[in-house]
């Protein structure tokens, strides 16, 4: 996603970003550049569908690479949505970021613009609990239907949380005391409990049964 030299007669990502700013005025911050990538910060998340429609139809961003979300736990707004756009014809990337508050946790869907957004938005809903207004089928995609938590949130512990659905999946932590794979301090180690190759017993008779 490094800034590509424009094709002859083509446009650069900076020019495309400028066109977006010309059209939508002060909704966008000045483009930030890091490692050759341009990022635009969008002030009003509710207008993201309108902006994406413009980017696709007027700026040639016909390829939605990815949508993702960030949990800025303890900050306001809590959620950041990140859209990665790409245009096959002009070979330029653009990243659009927008913030959503925790109370709201909702923004318009962009499935009507790019159909590939469907599963990306479902994944964000599944993992972070951000809802997309107007999404045709907003269900969990990776976790099972009825799972009560949003696992990619920063306040969700790495070890997981117990749920009351044991028949669907068990969520107990792996036992760390006892069991065949845990070495108890002061006892023999795993290698001697389950040796890879056994040495011949010292009193084993050599040369067959008669030896």
């Amino acid at each position: 996603m490094t800034a590509n030299p424009p094709t002859p007669g083509g446009t650069t990502a900076a020019q495309l970003a400028q066109k977006l700013r010309d059209k939508f005025g002060d909704l966008f911050s000045a483009p930030a550049e890091f490692r050759g990538e341009l990022t635009l910060q969008l002030a009003d998340a509710d207008r993201v569908a309108e902006i994406c429609t413009f980017a696709k139809h007027d700026l040639g961003f016909d390829f939605l690479v990815d949508i993702t979300s960030i949990d800025n736990y303890g900050e306001d707004p809590r959620w950041t949505l990140v859209y990665h756009l790409y245009g096959l014809a002009h070979n330029q990337y653009l990243r659009i970021k927008t913030g959503v508050t925790e109370e709201k946790s909702e923004l318009p869907t962009i499935v009507p613009v790019w159909r590939s957004a469907n599963w990306h938005e479902r994944e964000i809903y599944d993992m972070m609990g951000i809802r997309f207004r107007g999404h045709p089928d907003l269900r969990r995609v990776l976790m099972w239907e009825g799972y009560p938590f949003y696992p990619l949130r920063k306040d969700f512990p790495l070890a997981g949380k117990p749920t009351n659905l044991p028949e669907i999946a068990f969520s107990n932590a792996a036992p760390m005391d006892g069991g065949p794979f845990v070495t108890v301090p002061g006892t023999c180690d795993a290698g001697s409990r389950e040796p890879r190759s056994r040495l011949p017993e010292p009193d084993e008779p050599k040369g067959g049964a008669n030896g």
Partner: protein, 416 residues
Amino acid sequence: MAETRDLEIKDAAARLAAADQELSDLEGDKMVLNMGPSHPSTHGVLRIILELDGEVITKAMPEVGYLHRGDEKIAENMTYTQFIPYTDRLDYLAPLANNVAYALAVEKLLGIDKQLTPRCQYIRVICAELARVSSHLLGVGCYAMDVGAMTVFLHTYTEREKVHNLAESLSGARFTTAYTRIGGVSRDMPPGWMDQCRKFCNEVVVNIDETETLLTRNKIFVDRTQGVGVISRQDAIDYAMTGPNLRGSGVNYDLRKAQPYLVYDQLDFEVPVGTEGDSYDRYLVRMEEMRQSVRIIHQCLDKMPGGPVNISDGKIVLPPKDRVLTKMEELIHHFLNVTQGVNAPPGEIYFGHENPKGELGFYINSRGGGTPYRMKIRSPSFVNLSILPHLLPGHMISDVVAILGSFDFVMGECDR
């Protein structure tokens, strides 16, 4: 004396009308068929809930997530180097390519992607292309097996076994290679490895040619794949498909050409594209990609430069062990590298790598320090599969197998 009877032969339209008349009395219910998650053609654990009208699919609902392990959550809780073995488990049919993709993403964040040593870059290209050959050999073999040609799988897997052997002598592991490191690779090629690799390249093209004779003009295979699962150019772009599935629909988009990384801009190769966008074209694209990969590997072996494989910055790459044990500065670097990880600057990057299955992208959001604040893995299989609800309706139920096989997805990467 034989009795003569007149046969009434209706034309096609009349026959259809008669059949309709006959069937109109049967009030048919639609049937729901649950396919998977454990089904041989789902290549892992994909579940599709199909709604059928007779043998024709009217609605398809894929369910993914059976292999979800929370890789993105795990990545937030460990250093950049510690996550490398987890990338093996994304597309576990091409672990070397995942290693390369992830290392390049972190190096881009650190700003050292242009400082990699030439030898490291060539080795990484060989790794990525070996992984492509290996993944496509399995993909084509499994696909043929799914549509009824068992021999092909055994035939291609013989060759794939040699890639495992090469990976083993290169990295020490056949499957879970974890070969790259931030700023280089875990170790240089062992002596004689390049000759083995060249030998493999010469052998695999013979195998590919033989596979072609088994499939490309095989009447059964062609009948089951041609015109099945046609994806239009517009649909392929709209659903953000990547890799051979996108190129099968006639879109000439390959990240190795569009955004050249490593030394791909100095190598001579072509990007095959399809014309029809059906399952057969996706198969043809994979076959040709393997030949192009072999071409790339040959060029890399011929041009292989000498010198070190790792960059010399001790704050990024672990210093040599003998110096760690004798020199103060190297000991400090070693200690910091192992306990805190490489010190990344605050910022965010996205890096897309042309993996065998499509564009494997890593979006890393860093707030500084040795662990990412958020890491998103854009996996090609996940995005490619999202077209199924649109593509499957209207096909016969036996075509599901032919379409899934032609997608060549892997659930480890889809579910992460």
